[in-house]
Symmetry: C2
Subunit: 211 residues, 2 copies
DNA sequence: AACAGAGCGGAACGATCCGTTCCACTGTTA
DNA sequence: TAACAGTGGAACGGATCGTTCCGCTCTGTT
């Protein structure tokens, strides 16, 4: 509990608790099933439906907020990884951080369920820029095989996000396992370029079309 | 069209055509969205809903049939790959074949939406046996890094199946790209065992619980 | 002590969706 | 021409879900 919340008393305190409880519940629920009903979020958070609608005008609002937080988290992971001195380590730290935080599901799997705000567009642009910087550093480290492009990261994250078990901790363990395998695969310099035309920028943009 | 169908005339011929049209449409539709309505299948196949219900008692029946075909296809890919003389090539041919056929989505993503038949259980056991044989051969080839187990294949297939774009051909191209990266990652003998406790047999069985 | 109102739980409502049934219609076969 | 297999698609009934609404509780103020 934050000191801010602790300073409040009685009803106010509970309200502050609910703020975070609802966000966490929404994260868990929509991560497991992006189409989950809003009542499931309320149930998970241990509150009534009113508590939700007091904070968010409608379901779309909540989803948008969640995605916004996901983008922010992605940026935070990138900025933290950029501190790393070693170029290759910075790259792997970044990717591992994003996979661990399950941020991919929060952004991409929720895409198309709401109309994005201009602010989110800017954050997304920042995210691309940061990821590109990290990727370029990985390339200069010389450990990356030829023919790999930044966009490959998106799809690798997508593949990792598909690993999902009932147990959250186990899910993370296994995701790290296959992420490590893929990173080892990306680091086999002697293998030459991976097959097939590499993904192009914007090839995944269709996701953001309203469904 | 089969010769059997060509021999028939008029209404019978159309009926035979519908048989396959419906199955193909169902495959496409449920591959894209396992929870799709049955009317979407009819629309895609260009037939009315009656044509569906004449052939399958209900939705569950159709899903079960689809999954059954998927298992068969999996077995076929395995048996064909076992012809391959080279141990490592047999393994990669098998995995690539399964990814190309998008069989994983047909079986696992549909799991839990119907009650499986005993016959499917037997097919599943045969599938596990065949996959194990191919995996063992890959191990004896010496190109597989230590610490990798058969169950890893399931999860790698799962990761590949997550790559999905509107265009089917492009989807296959990109899946092959990341499958290749992962296979290269699995073949880095010098890297030692990948991190984390390896997946255990039956760790993915929860999928088949009725939802 | 009385009161105003913030915050809340959950029933109720209305819209939508979807699986399944039903019936009229069309060719085909005998 | 009669019987009927095969079909299209409207119609039905149940379930789901987003949202609204009402009555209650607790809190801070007068």
């Amino acid at each position: 509990m934050t000191t801010e919340a602790a300073a409040l008393s009685g009803r106010r305190r509970q309200a502050a608790r609910n703020d975070t409880a609802i966000l966490e519940a929404a994260r868990d629920v929509f991560l497991a099933d992006p189409k989950a009903p809003i009542s499931a979020v309320a149930e998970r958070a241990g509150v009534g439906i009113s508590a939700l609608y007091r904070r968010y005008a409608n379901k779309e609002d909540l989803l948008r907020q969640l995605c916004r937080d996901g983008l922010r988290r992605y940026l935070a992971e990138a900025e933290q990884a950029e501190q790393e001195a070693d170029d290759w380590a910075a790259f792997t730290t970044f990717v591992t951080g994003v996979v661990d935080a399950d941020v991919h599901s929060l952004t991409v799997r929720l895409a198309g369920t709401f109309t994005p705000t201009p602010e989110m567009g800017e954050d997304a642009a920042r995210a691309v820029a940061a990821a590109t910087r990290l990727f370029d550093r990985a390339q200069t480290s010389g450990r990356l095989r030829p023919g790999v492009v930044v966009q490959d990261i998106d799809l690798i994250l997508e593949a990792c996000a598909a690993i999902r078990l009932p147990d959250v901790a186990r899910t993370r363990e296994l995701r790290r396992r296959y992420l490590a395998v893929m990173l080892d695969g990306l680091a086999t310099v002697e293998a030459g370029a991976p097959p097939g035309p590499a993904p192009e920028p914007g090839e995944l943009n269709w996701r953001w079309q309203r469904r």
